[in-house]
């Protein structure tokens, strides 16, 4: 029910008054946006294409756009193989029970001896990045609200302290944290990495969420408080829904950071808690950098993040609404 006596509500959207001019403008914008998206994505598409190439094509001069695709790199990504010696090769090739994956690897002179670490690492990544994102956004939204709404002694200093966490170059922090973790037995544990990523993300998350929450007028909560809501209820029912965009954006950024973090994942884990980023980028094959396998791994690793972002897209674009009442 929009029984507001004031004119503004009638101006809530432009859709009512769309004529030819604005429609053409929107169409032009859409076209330009599509073109820009295509240009921006060319390197990613190139990487995607590389995943389906065999090695010699990946580094051909000049670069090749049309080629015979192959799943060779994906098999290489997911399996552990070893080189067949010349004698073994003849025997092996004569076997009749080889799967399509085996055949592919045989072309390279390799036999599959088991699964690679990729699946485990992917699962570790999901666990560690997922949990740390939940915690960092959770803690941050609370802190951001407090900083935004209340007078806290030394607020500016505290906020700056939070910001300063990101200022020291990682290279220098690596050794002390490594030593600390070794001492505390946190080395190569999921908990250890989760702790680390949560604290890294907190810095940015608090600042970003505070930025969003600052934009939400206090009057809503104050009206609610006047009407008998507790502070916590006001927070949950008034502020949080309006901060959805901020929360969505912060979630996406925190997730991306934890998902792709490389240096600490390398130093602080070995077998059990190893995530995917340390092993994808530099897959050394038989004396070459396996561009195709790296591409396959990067592509596979990219997909979960894209999915999460796509699911959240409506929240990312919604924005804070002033005055316009939601339908329903």
């Amino acid at each position: 029910m929009t029984a507001a006596p004031l004119a503004p509500v009638n101006f809530s959207t432009r859709v009512d008054k769309v004529g030819a001019g604005p429609r053409i403008r929107t169409a032009v914008r859409a076209v330009v946006a599509v073109i820009i998206t295509i240009i921006v994505l060319i390197p990613v598409v190139w990487m995607g294409m590389t995943a389906f190439k065999s090695h010699s094509i990946a580094v051909s001069v000049p670069p090749v756009v049309f080629f015979q695709p192959s799943l060779e790199s994906f098999v290489s990504l997911l399996t552990q193989r070893r080189q067949l010696t010349a004698d073994e090769r003849a025997d092996y090739a004569a076997r009749t029970d080889l799967s399509w994956a085996d055949q592919l690897m045989l072309q390279r002179g390799q036999v599959i001896i088991g699964e690679s670490q990729f699946r485990t690492q992917l699962i570790n990544s999901i666990i560690i990045a997922g949990i740390s994102t939940v915690f960092s956004v959770g803690f941050a939204v609370l802190a951001a609200y407090a900083f935004s709404r209340f007078h806290i002694p030394g607020k500016d200093d505290l906020l700056f302290f939070i910001l300063s966490q990101r200022m020291l170059p990682a290279v220098v922090v690596t050794i002390p944290i490594f030593l600390m973790y070794k001492e505390l037995g946190l080395h190569d544990t999921h908990f250890g990495l989760i702790l680390l990523y949560t604290s890294f993300n907190l810095s940015f998350a608090v600042w970003l969420l505070k930025g969003f929450i600052d934009e939400i007028p206090r009057e809503y909560e104050e009206a609610a408080l006047v009407d008998g809501y507790t502070r916590l209820q006001a927070f949950r029912k008034i502020v949080l829904p309006q901060a959805t965009t901020g929360i969505a954006a912060t979630t996406v950024f925190s997730l991306i950071f934890s998902w792709n973090e490389y240096a600490f994942a390398l130093m602080l884990t070995s077998e059990r808690a190893r995530t995917a980023p340390p092993s994808i980028p530099l897959v050394l094959g038989v004396g070459t950098i396996e561009w195709a396998t790296i591409a396959a791994g990067s592509l596979a690793f990219l997909i979960p993040v894209v999915i999460v972002t796509f699911v959240l897209r409506k929240h990312l674009l919604r924005g804070v609404t002033f005055g316009a009442i939601r339908k329903g």
């Binding site: 060319i42 290279v171 930025g211 007028p217 796509f310």
Partner: protein, 329 residues
């Protein structure tokens, strides 16, 4: 007539007048409102909300911060069994008097300036483009965010391939067909830094875009309506409505991108390793060489890190002051 001006404290009065009534209605409608429940005092809430964050940050960062600070005043290598030797400000003096460090500061500064400026322009432009919702704008927004979702090392690895004059795709796409005369992006001292800037901008403009988009979509349309009724031109609308609204979030984005630009390591190391020669040797590359790579000079690298920290703190302070001004006005 409605005069458009940035949503400040005054503006919200109007809105609350219109909306308070709706909000006030709610508790009355749900009669079984648990209003009588014991309430936590504001002070307790504040403490409860802030404590997890502060505690976690202190736990994780106090030791490294203090450790590095202490070590920066010593001559020490963490892998040797020789204990740290106190040398006071010697490490700092060495660094500040060594021309190679000033050179790397200059490179880093130039890189940060170029990269952040371009990211801001491109990101903001993209946000302006995408603010009006058309079919598929959600999908397009997600797709433009993809560069940011890739691991920095993967980005560096593949862009190295793309920049390669022999088997990369950039030069052919730009129209250079002869591989012998096409630009050697990563090997030419004049182009190398630009190459890294291009990759950084490609990767992080979406970040700026997303934050600007959030700010832009919060601007109520009636402000623009009122402005156009007043016959204000596009530039006026942009300067007085759009920009001020977006400024807080934009500044946060720029602040964080600047901090990251000063620390940028993965892209530089992956693309050029600091070369050719030392043309793209940023401070973080030097830090890495000092702290690892066989030298393991923990003392000097800690000192250098703290110098970088001081620089970043100084610059951040400038931004924060601008941020507070933007929000306060």
């Amino acid at each position: 007539m409605f005069r458009p001006h940035p949503l400040g404290a005054g503006e919200t009065q109007i809105l609350s007048r219109c909306c308070v009534s709706q909000v006030a209605l709610k508790p009355a409608q749900n009669a079984a409102q648990p209003v009588a429940r014991r309430q936590l005092s504001d002070a307790t809430i504040v403490r409860l909300f802030i404590l997890p964050t502060i505690i976690l940050l202190i736990l994780m960062n106090i030791f490294p911060l203090i450790y590095s600070l202490f070590i920066s005043f010593t001559e020490y290598s963490v892998i040797s069994d020789v204990p740290p030797v106190w040398v006071g400000l010697q490490n700092y003096q060495r660094i500040l008097s060594d021309p190679t460090f000033w050179h790397s500061f200059a490179v880093t500064g130039r890189f940060a300036l170029l990269s952040v400026a371009l990211q801001t322009v491109v990101g903001f432009g993209l946000a302006l483009l995408l603010r009006s919702k058309f079919t598929g704008s959600g999908l397009i927004t997600t797709l433009i965010l993809v560069p940011m979702m890739l691991s920095p090392i993967v980005v560096a690895t593949f862009w190295k391939l793309i920049f390669n004059p022999s088997y990369g795709i950039l030069n052919p796409l730009l129209g250079f067909t002869n591989i012998n005369t096409s630009p050697e992006w990563l090997g030419d001292p004049n182009l190398a830094l630009w190459a890294i800037v291009i990759v950084d901008v490609w990767m992080w403009s979406p970040f700026v875009m997303l934050l600007c988009l959030a700010g832009l979509s919060a601007i109520p349309d009636y402000l623009y309506e009122a402005a156009s009724i007043d016959r204000a031109n596009w530039w006026f609308q942009f300067r007085r409505i759009t920009l001020p609204q977006v400024m807080p979030l934009l500044l946060i984005a720029v602040l964080f991108r600047t901090i990251e630009a000063f620390k940028q390591f993965d892209l530089v190391m992956g693309l050029t390793g600091g070369g050719p020669g030392d043309v793209t040797e940023t401070v973080s590359v030097q830090l890495y060489q000092l702290a690892f790579q066989g030298q393991f000079n923990t003392g000097m690298s800690s000192a250098l890190a703290y110098i970088v920290l001081v620089v970043i703190i100084a610059i951040s302070n400038l931004y924060i002051r601008a941020l507070n001004r933007a929000r306060g006005g």
